[in-house]
């Protein structure tokens, strides 16, 4: 391989790399996944039990959309993924809060039932 040949190869590699950066597609899948995760988190948190995480997810998603509009697809994809991760955390937090309330309610209900059905019937 001659030096000129090597130069040609390096130039071609640089051009190929440049083309791949500038020709990146909009992160539609990431944005869609983030949007879906946020919707699931909202459904899981009707009482706002994971409001902080959900708010962070929504902000990240908004910012991702803005970057996407500015064709900064890589940053948009990164932020969309952050939004998805935060939304999934919010969903898990909401489910935890819901489960805790469920357990509290059922514990109280069982205690009430035990008192009404068992303790009161003791003779």
């Amino acid at each position: 391989m001659t030096l000129s040949t090597l130069k040609i190869h390096m130039v071609l590699a640089f051009l190929l790399a440049s083309t791949s950066v500038w020709a990146a597609e909009p992160p539609a899948a990431e944005l869609s996944a983030a949007q879906m995760a946020i919707a699931q988190a909202e459904r899981a948190s009707p009482k706002g039990t994971a409001a902080q995480s959900l708010q962070i997810a929504k902000s990240a998603f908004t910012e991702a959309q803005a970057l996407n509009d500015k064709r900064k697809y890589k940053d948009a994809a990164s932020l969309a993924y952050r939004a998805q991760v935060m939304a999934e955390l919010a969903k898990a937090q909401a489910e935890l809060a819901n489960a805790r309330m469920d357990v509290d309610e059922k514990s109280a209900r069982n205690a009430d039932l035990r008192r009404q059905l068992l303790v009161n019937t003791e003779r």
């Binding site: 001659t2 030096l3 955390l89 514990s107």
Partner: protein, 328 residues
């Protein structure tokens, strides 16, 4: 030219080695974020309550940690953020699943409470049914006992009635016995009186009672024809005395007395009947004079009927002339 190319190739290799060395140096350096992440995951794995929960989120967390390990440059910060949030999500998801399991356990506990309450209700119902059955048995026994008492009382009453009837019968028997004894005493008295009369008869034959004979259930006293003057209905004094004694005896009796007069066959029947009637009437008057009630006396004249002897001889005709006093 070949030497230049060889130098360039060596330089590239050296550069790659430098990068590799740098990378090795980087992995060998203390990495507190990675340690913290691994510690969190290990704690999650070692928690007996959470070890098997949130499996999907835990897998995602491990993948994120792995990506963080291999991430370089600008992506490292993003990878750290994602790894932190994935680990936190795994922890929260495991706790949520644990609570969900507890909620299910509480549902089962609720079912157990309901079942226990149902069993208790059933037991109570069974106990109440048993109590009712026992009460029923006791009531039945009480009813039977009362029925038995009623039967006993009825039997006692019947026994009492029987005793009363027996007593009554015994009293009646005693009364009858007393009556019989009284009659016996009366009869003895009458017998004594009769014996006295008979004794007095023995003193004077003319005052004797008319001869008596039994005819079935009746006693028949026969007043002979010589008790009257011939062809007359006038009683002789001896006959009157005799009838007076007979009346004294018959006063104690209650039966009816028929007085029947008879003649012999001589003479007209009409005259005989008339004579026999007058003689019967005379006897009846004498007996009434002796104290007998007129209601007990009835006199009739039979004439020559029912002769007791042959009218062909004087002795037979004398026997046929008679007055019979029949005491029933």
């Amino acid at each position: 030219m070949k030497q230049t190319l060889a130098r360039l190739q060596w330089a590239v290799m050296a550069l790659l080695l430098c990068f590799s060395a740098a990378s090795l140096a980087a992995t060998g350096k203390p990495n507190p974020e990675l340690d913290r992440l691994n510690a969190s995951l290990s704690a999650l794995d070692n928690d007996p309550a959470l070890a098997d929960l949130g499996a999907l989120e835990r897998l995602k967390a491990r993948q994120a940690v792995t990506q963080f390990v291999t991430a370089k440059g600008k992506t490292r910060e993003q990878a750290l953020f994602v790894a932190n949030k994935r680990v936190e999500t795994a922890q929260v998801a495991a706790q949520a699943e644990l609570l969900a399991n507890q909620a299910e356990q509480l549902d089962r506990e609720r079912d157990q409470i309901m079942l226990q309450a149902s069993r208790r209700d059933a037991d109570m119902a069974r106990r109440e049914a048993e109590q009712l059955r026992i009460q029923n048995m006791a009531r039945q026994e009480e009813t039977e006992r009362l029925s038995q008492a009623v039967d006993d009382e009825r039997a006692a009453r019947e026994q009492s009635n029987a005793d009363a009837q027996l007593s009554s019968a015994q009293a009646a028997q005693a009364r009858k016995l007393a009556d019989a004894r009284a009659r016996e005493v009366d009869l003895a008295r009458k017998e004594a009186e009769l014996a006295s009369i008979l004794a007095s008869d023995n003193v004077s034959d003319g005052d004797a009672l008319p001869p008596m004979q039994r005819r079935g259930a009746s006693m028949v006293y026969t007043l002979a024809g010589n008790s009257f003057a011939s062809g007359s209905a006038m009683l002789t004094s001896s006959a009157l005395s005799s009838l007076n004694k007979l009346a004294a005896i018959l006063r104690s009796g209650q039966g009816n007395i028929r007085i029947e007069g008879f003649t012999d066959s001589q003479g007209a029947d009409a005259a005989n009947i008339a004579l026999s009637q007058r003689r019967a009437n005379a006897v009846m008057v004498a007996l009434r004079a002796g104290g007998l009630s007129a209601a007990r006396l009835r006199a009739s004249g039979k004439g020559k009927a029912q002769p007791v002897a042959d009218n062909g001889s004087e002795a037979g005709r004398a026997r046929n002339r008679r007055v019979e006093i029949i005491v029933n």
